[in-house]
Amino acid sequence: MSAEDKLWALGDAAELVRDGDLVAIGGLSLNCAPMAFCRQLARAGRRDLDLLAVVSGMAVDWLIAAGCVRRLIMGLTSFEGFGLAPSFRRAAETGSIQVQEWSEHTLICALQAATAGVPFMPTRAGLGTDMPALHPDRTWEAIDERSGERYLACAAIKPDVAVIHVHEADRRGNARMNPKLVWFDTELVKAAGRVIVTAERIVETSTFRQAPERTSIPGFAVDHVIEAPRGAWPTACWPEYPYDGDFYRSYQRAARDPKAFAELFAEHVAPLSTSASMGA
């Protein structure tokens, strides 16, 4: 792939993900998830995706509702004050997706292990809780012989693809947050096999050269750049636009009724095929 032009059309975004991929989704709760990208996955009818989303909500709910998801690897999935994520909840309760709960920090440890090329990362997080036993092949308690100290080993998780949303990017993949909740996004970027950045705006490379201390992600760490204005909607892209509370509320209202939900979902995300629909 050319270092010079990594630009990709939003309409073709789903081509960058294969059925069955482990896809890491950026953002934090109501903030700056790559929603426009998720919409494309839903429309293209991607199937059997394994999602990794540390703290998410609407992005995961869309993909579950559209029937794209086989397994969700997560720390937290909610709409915060707007309630439980309805499609996630229903899919988890009916068993139509597999929910692999980790925690925020243990997931970061697993990503960092993948980045560093080591089999696991040790942490104190999760000790004494029921979480490690949910995936004993991936998280296990151990004792360091020399010090006698206890730790939880978190085996490496390497996403096939990571997708994050930023304010500005150029054709070479340089990306800038102005500023934003970077939070877990850079950890996803560092660990993933392929990295896709959706951006509010595509800017010239000279923009980066004029203020290089403000660049968040170097071009060489990014494989594809997609222009997606308001691409985080209905989550926030602080400080440019806030989350759309009205949408969260109407989504929750619609989720009580299959027909209303199908209508809302078709209007804002993708048509629901009856068989695939988890949301209805």
Partner: protein, 262 residues
């Protein structure tokens, strides 16, 4: 501290009771849907703990927000911060090393040792209710030395003898369990809409420390699914003063704290 207020509401009582627990050297951060702790931290900073540092949304250090807004993870809280600490790596480093020393937890279920569940009601594989997930509970419960619990729904569905899932660690199985795991500190108090509880020094079981005005010890026992430690006469929770109530209403002018008392 001035005269007791006469027109305070339950949220103001809970906020005041929690605020009093934060010492001056607190460096606290907060998670999602944490209106009560955010209010309490703001109140503590405005009263007895001027050096308290609050990291809003675990991101904005020492901000001066004008109001609280709909989300305690959102930018409404970040005005006037000295730093936007936006990388997870730095954030976790300071939480792990003890520089950020305080965190407030709530759970859909809380047990006698202050362990919390926010994962499932029912079995993990076939949950009756799939909750949002532990998020940072499993992490911060182990890494942060000063844990504060709160609940606005003190009843037997919340305060249970056995969690359906242990998402976050409090005192674990009690006694020296945390210590044996090599973990710092532990839960200090649990402030609810009925009472204030702390933990027995040896057994680490929850102990009734005070009941809110109008609540009896029997009420608390009836609404608690596990056996509480009760030692001697249980005093009444000190109600907020007029000044405290005024401050709370000034710090949270849109009544965000009341969202947790729906």
């Amino acid at each position: 501290m001035g005269d007791a207020a006469t027109d305070y509401t339950i949220d103001e009582l809970v906020v005041t009771a929690l605020a009093k627990e934060f010492p001056d050297d607190t460096v606290a951060f907060n998670g999602a849907v944490s209106f009560v702790p955010v209010c309490a931290l703001l109140l503590a900073r405005a009263t007895h703990a001027p050096n308290l540092i609050w990291v809003a949304s675990s991101i904005a250090v020492d901000p001066q927000p004008k109001e609280i807004g709909e989300s305690t993870l959102s930018d409404a809280l970040w005005d006037g911060a000295t730093m936007l600490q936006s990388s997870a790596a730095d954030f976790w480093a300071y939480a792990q090393s003890g520089r950020m020393n305080s965190f407030c937890f709530r759970g859909a279920q809380i047990d006698a040792f202050g362990n919390v569940n926010n994962t499932v009601i029912g079995t993990y594989e076939q949950p009756k209710i799939r909750l949002p997930g532990g998020g940072g509970m499993a992490d911060l419960g182990c890494q942060v030395g000063r844990i504060y619990l709160w609940s606005t729904t003190h009843d037997r569905r919340t305060f249970v003898d056995k969690l359906d899932f242990r998402s976050g660690l409090g005192w674990g199985d009690g006694g020296d369990h945390r210590q044996r795991l090599g973990l710092p500190g532990g839960p200090r108090v649990c402030v609810t809409n009925l009472c204030v509880m702390d933990f027995h020094q040896v057994s680490k079981r929850m102990r009734l420390r005070s009941v809110h005005p109008g609540v009896s010890v029997e009420d608390v026992i009836a609404q608690t699914g596990f056996e509480l430690v009760i030692e001697g006469e249980v005093p009444q929770t000190v109600p907020p003063t007029r000044e405290e109530v005024e401050l709370i209403r000034r710090l949270d002018p849109t009544d965000a704290r009341k969202r947790e008392f729906a």
